[in-house]
């Protein structure tokens, strides 16, 4: 009996139906070659499985456990709750609920740190609320987002722009990071005549002695990365693409 190797493989993996199994087992009785091939498949399976078994015994990094539970691990940046940041930027009292969970309390502390650092008020160079109550780039950040190319490494920048891309909505979006300490970064998209803040994250432990490091890190903030990957349409803009988009005032392209 001639049996294809794929069939023998499937048999060794327990993936054949009862009829096939019966015929292979009948063939095995008469044919040592078939027995040898099945044994090889099983041995390889054990070898490969064994090679990676030890990973399961390693301690899982706390940051992954935190991520799975929906908490943000400090070393990789804290996402600022935009709704809360918006209220704070608008000068409102932070929320009306009385019974916050401990997680929410911790988050509010982090937002507080961020607000304190960034100096959230309507004259902030970073973020402000527009007339619709949306969080948008303040004058300084908007200036950088509108004019600065991502390769620009000139000193004295207010913000560092990371990568630029066209979102699935047709809008142009850019990642940015602060040049200050603690470092913060985020994603802004051009909507209308302003830059709307989509994600804001901060890395309390990141040092910004070298602004070049922040440039590298800007798009690597997991929350920012995730937001980029969720919204990007195609590839990020290269230098020529940024120049062209800037010339067009970063006006949205027609929706595909």
């Amino acid at each position: 009996m001639s049996v294809s190797d794929e069939t023998l493989m499937a048999y060794a993996d327990g993936e054949v139906d009862a009829a096939t199994r019966a015929s292979i087992e009948a063939a095995m009785r008469d044919d040592p070659e078939i027995r040898r091939r099945i044994a090889e498949h099983r041995a390889l399976r054990e070898t490969v499985q064994g090679a990676f078994a030890a990973v399961l015994d390693e301690p899982v990094p706390q940051r992954l456990i935190d991520a799975a539970r929906g908490h943000k691990a400090p070393p990789l940046g804290n996402v600022v709750d935009l709704a809360r940041a918006r209220r704070a930027a608008a000068g409102e009292a932070p929320g009306r609920r009385r019974s916050w969970q401990p997680v929410a309390m911790a988050a509010s502390v982090l937002v507080g740190v961020a607000l304190g650092y960034l100096g959230w008020h309507n004259s902030s160079p970073w973020v402000k609320t527009n007339s619709s109550g949306e969080l948008v780039a303040g004058a300084g950040l908007a200036e950088a987002l509108s004019n600065q190319l991502s390769e620009d490494r000139s000193p004295g920048r207010v913000a560092i722009t990371g990568l630029s891309f066209r979102a699935k909505t047709g809008d142009y979006c850019r990642t940015f990071s602060s040049t200050g300490t603690p470092a913060s970064s985020g994603l802004a998209c051009r909507e209308g005549d302003g830059w709307k803040i989509k994600v804001l994250a901060q890395s309390p432990n990141a040092t910004s002695n070298s602004s070049n490091f922040r440039q590298a890190a800007s798009a690597d903030e997991p929350a920012v990365r995730t937001a980029v990957e969720e919204s990007i349409d195609g590839e990020p803009l290269d230098r020529a693409g940024e120049v062209a988009a800037r010339q067009g005032g970063w006006a949205a392209a027609p929706r595909r």
Partner: protein, 170 residues
Amino acid sequence: MSTNESAETIQEQIVALLPRLRRFARNLVRTPHDADDMVQIAVERALLRLDQWHSDARLDSWLFKILRNAWIDEVRSRGRRAKLFMPEEAGENVGEASMEREIDRLSVEAALARLPHDQRLAVSLVLVEGLAYKDAADVLDVPIGTLTSRLARGREALAAMLRPPQGDHS
């Protein structure tokens, strides 16, 4: 609230699956640290999409799929980032001839890393993670026949690389 409770239950199930997600990610990217970064990205995405998970589906398959898609996104954008990720070419340039010339017996990890990524993922999901063919095919978004043939080719190549040099098989 019951919805919050069920979300928390799923979160704890995800925590329990982290060791396996980390193991799968090790077969995607070069270093353990980068693998953990991939897991973190995947887990964060999963939490954003919990409403897309149906409780009759396997949670592990669903997470493997998100992880695999996150990795594909990373591979696509790797040109603009640090060279974190395992180059596909490393596997694809290894032809039959060079495998046969391989003199040293490779470690299983090194051998697996040399497979083209399609085969590597099939081998990793079925042989390492123990997924059924249909579940692995679902993670990879391919028909089961494609999964089977990738798995067969991957196994054949692995066996050739891992075979002791004194072996008399051709």
